[in-house]
């Protein structure tokens, strides 16, 4: 109160300004509340938009991983190896296995 009085002057002037100040305070508070509510709603819409975007990205990622699984399935790899790369399956005696004991064995 003493600060209030020292700022606005003592006595009658302070009493004159007090109701106006109260009204201003109430209005500022109301505007503050309104602003917060509007901000909350605005942020809500942004979150909604981003959530949808995130879901879209997740779906896309899932789609890509399914695509990867499809194109790397064993029978497709084999057909690509056979038809495009002209690779052939190893036959008996063509695989040489090194054992941990330093022996090379033909399989």
């Amino acid at each position: 109160m003493s600060t209030f009085k020292s700022f606005f002057g003592a006595g009658e002037r302070a009493q004159e300004i007090a109701p106006f100040l109260s009204l201003v305070l109430v209005l500022v508070t109301l505007f503050g509340v309104l602003f917060c509510k509007m901000e909350l709603r605005r942020v809500g819409y942004s979150v909604l938009k981003l959530t949808r975007e995130e879901r879209k990205m997740r779906d896309l990622e899932r789609q890509q991983s399914i695509m990867l699984a499809k194109i790397t399935r064993p029978d497709r790899l084999q057909s690509v190896a056979d038809a495009r790369l002209n690779l052939k399956r190893a036959e008996s005696g063509q695989i040489i296995q090194m054992t941990e004991r330093g022996i090379a064995l033909r399989e």
């Binding site: 899932r62 789609q63 991983s65 399935r73 296995q97 022996i103 090379a104 064995l105």
Partner: protein, 657 residues
């Protein structure tokens, strides 16, 4: 004048009081109807679509997955420009304009499906075009679609789902409860345009997800098995073929297949015969692969030892009016081991006679025949065993695998019991179940059903089965270079499905076995139904076993234990002294389970030179000495040498032809 003013004031006060009172009543006293009205006006329900859980193999490769798709519907009543809309839909959906026009003419209906399960790109492009041309009357519903990226691979085991993603067959059906979860509905406040207002935080990323399943199956091994079965069916013009690979120690299913198979993405187009997982649903007369269990019973109750000699009657035996024959060869006196190796029907029947029907039945039941194995797959058959008493000819038939039926899974699991030292496990295919929301993983542990035979008897039987794949045995074609293979061939007559008796010239050729015989890791069973070019199990199924087994050991990174000159790569660096050979001996010794009478009572290495591998193993069984084998043929020398001390209880035997 004053009284009038008072009257008016009073009236106004009364009116205001009534209004305030009514407002207070509406606001403070709960009213269901008004609450519902308010809810409808200010709230909306957001449905969070549930995702069905994934199915992956033991290495995390996707086998069954679900993805979000968009289904297109139309409300003909609000369509303003039907011609324009049908043209756009026909070009985007690649449907005929005529069929869309027909749907558009159904003005009385408010909801008509136009296309199901479109992907996001189609949806986005259609929506953009609708906006551009200012068209209305269509909408999208978000749905989930099951995809099987590997198409035919493991399709009979995984099964498939219906239009609403309910499991209809296979694992999809068996684990439907775990994989599926209900859609989540959330009530949220909405704005004037009907958009949900996010007040309760981030609820939109909390879509419910079903549990993920990890299988014990290895995708690559499964592929090789399926490919081999398909090639065998084509090569031998067979009706079908089945195969299964189990972990010998735990009965985990590593691969399971039937040929021909089907594409799980187009399940509706496949015939029921192709969709059936024959490994668990079909039981048939297995033939000679059952002889192994007669031997197991006889070894367990001490009716025979591997070297017990049986008179095989020169290939003919009369039982009443019936005659039992041995195929191709006519044998006179054979040991029990040789009976198994050459698959003598008469020898096995005579052993069964010594045991009696009760003990043979008991042996079969111990190994799980005639009851479900308890595998976590639907539709399992338990097979048929006739009730006692059995007449002599039935006992003989049952001893060599006729007059009894079993599923491929039962057979493989029973062989696994022999391979692991006598414990029958419950086979299983789901390795773990993961809850994606909590991250909690529930591992499935191997489960022992019972002990079916002693460790010593199991070891003896393994040696007997290893003799089947020697040059004299019927399973010679099942050998795998570098690895000792134990197993048994089977050639069973096929039962006539349309009448009594057996089909003429129709057989089921099979091979059941495991490897490496000294330290089994894989149990493999192969059966080919009605091969038309050849029919002996040794010629049809054993080579398939060999190829699948070869891949399995290579994939597992197992080092060969049978080191022969044939598979040794010659190199100056690799030939060395006896001491160096000793350092290169195989890492998987044959561990004899308990001391026996034959060999090495003292601490001295006996003279083994000139003996065959089988003779050495017979003498060593049960002594507690770790034996390592190198080469093929007869024994040339040992480390430590004959006469030396055997304090280390380790013996390396070198063989040469």
């Amino acid at each position: 004048m004053r009284s009038r003013i008072v009257l008016i004031l009073l009236a106004l006060t009364l009116m205001w009081s009534a209004l305030i009172g009514r407002a207070a009543y509406l606001q403070l006293i709960p009213d269901k109807r008004l609450n519902a009205l308010q809810k409808r006006q200010f709230e909306t329900v957001v449905t969070l679509n549930a995702r069905r859980g994934d199915v992956v193999d033991r290495n995390g490769h996707e086998l069954a997955v679900s993805m979000t798709t968009y289904s297109l519907f139309m409300d003909p009543k609000i369509v303003e420009e039907p011609k324009k809309l049908s043209k756009l839909l026909a070009s985007t959906l690649k449907q005929s304009q005529k069929s869309i026009d027909q749907k558009l003419r159904q003005r009385s209906k408010r909801f008509i499906w136009l296309a199901r399960h479109l992907d996001r790109t189609v949806k986005d492009s259609l929506e953009a075009e609708m906006k551009k041309q200012k068209l209305r009357g269509i909408g999208f519903v978000e749905e989930s679609k099951r995809i099987y990226p590997n198409e035919r691979l493991l399709s009979q085991v995984i099964g498939f789902v219906g239009e609403e993603e309910n499991g209809l067959e296979g694992l999809e059906l068996r684990y439907n409860e775990q994989l599926q979860t209900a859609n989540k509905k959330v009530n949220v406040r909405k704005d004037a345009r009907g958009r949900p207002l996010i007040i309760a935080g981030h609820m939109f990323d909390q879509a419910p997800e079903g549990n993920d399943l990890q299988l014990t199956v290895d995708r690559e091994l499964q592929f090789v098995l399926e490919q081999e079965l398909a090639q065998t069916v084509a090569k031998h013009e067979a009706d079908s073929a089945v195969g299964i690979v189990l972990d010998a120690q735990t009965s985990e299913v590593l691969a399971m297949a039937s040929a021909p198979t089907f594409d799980a993405n187009k399940a509706a187009d496949a015939t029921p015969n192709r969709k059936r997982n024959k490994v668990v649903t079909d039981s048939f007369e297995p033939g000679s692969t059952m002889k192994t269990f007669v031997m197991a019973g006889a070894l367990s109750d001490k009716t025979i030892e591997p070297n017990t000699r049986i008179d095989c009657g020169g290939g003919l035996m009369r039982i009443g009016r019936r005659t039992i024959r041995d195929d191709i060869h006519k044998f006179f006196t054979l040991t029990a081991s040789e009976i198994l190796a050459v698959s003598s029907n008469i020898g096995t029947a005579k052993i069964a006679f010594r045991m009696g029907d009760t003990k043979v039945l008991e042996a079969y039941k111990k190994f799980g025949f005639g009851e479900k194995s308890g595998v976590d797959l639907p539709g399992e058959a338990k097979g048929i065993i006739q009730s006692l008493p059995w007449r002599e000819h039935l006992l003989a038939n049952v001893a060599f695998g006729h007059g009894i039926t079993a599923t491929p899974l039962q057979l493989a699991n029973a062989y696994a019991a022999i391979a692991n030292g006598g414990l029958l496990h419950q086979p299983y295919i789901v390795k773990s179940i993961k809850n994606p929301e909590t991250g909690e993983v529930t591992d499935v542990k191997p489960k022992v059903i019972r002990r079916v035979m002693g460790e010593v008897e199991a070891a003896k039987l393994r040696f007997m089965l290893a003799a089947v794949t020697t040059k004299e045995g019927t399973g010679f074609n099942a050998r795998v270079p570098g690895f000792p293979v134990a197993g048994k061939t089977g050639t069973a007559q096929k039962v006539n499905p349309n009448g009594r008796g057996y089909m003429r010239g129709a057989y089921i050729s099979s091979f059941a076995g495991f490897l490496p015989a000294n330290d089994p890791r894989f149990v493999i069973y192969i059966a080919v139904d009605h091969p038309r070019k050849e029919y002996y199990g040794s010629a049809v199924a054993a080579p398939v076993f060999s190829r699948v087994a070869k891949f399995a050991v290579r994939r597992a990174g197992l080092a060969p234990v049978l080191i022969t000159e044939a598979n040794l790569v010659p190199s100056a660096d690799l030939t060395g002294s006896v001491e160096r050979d000793a350092a290169q001996v195989a890492a998987h010794p044959i561990v004899a389970p308990r001391p026996s009478q034959e060999i090495i009572d003292d601490q001295t290495v006996p003279e083994l030179a000139g003996l065959t591998l089988r003779e050495v193993l017979t003498r060593v069984t049960g002594t507690g000495v770790n034996v390592r084998i190198q080469g093929q043929g007869v024994v040339t020398h040992t480390i430590p040498a004959a006469g030396s001390s055997l304090a280390a209880r380790e013996l390396t035997v070198f063989l040469s032809k």
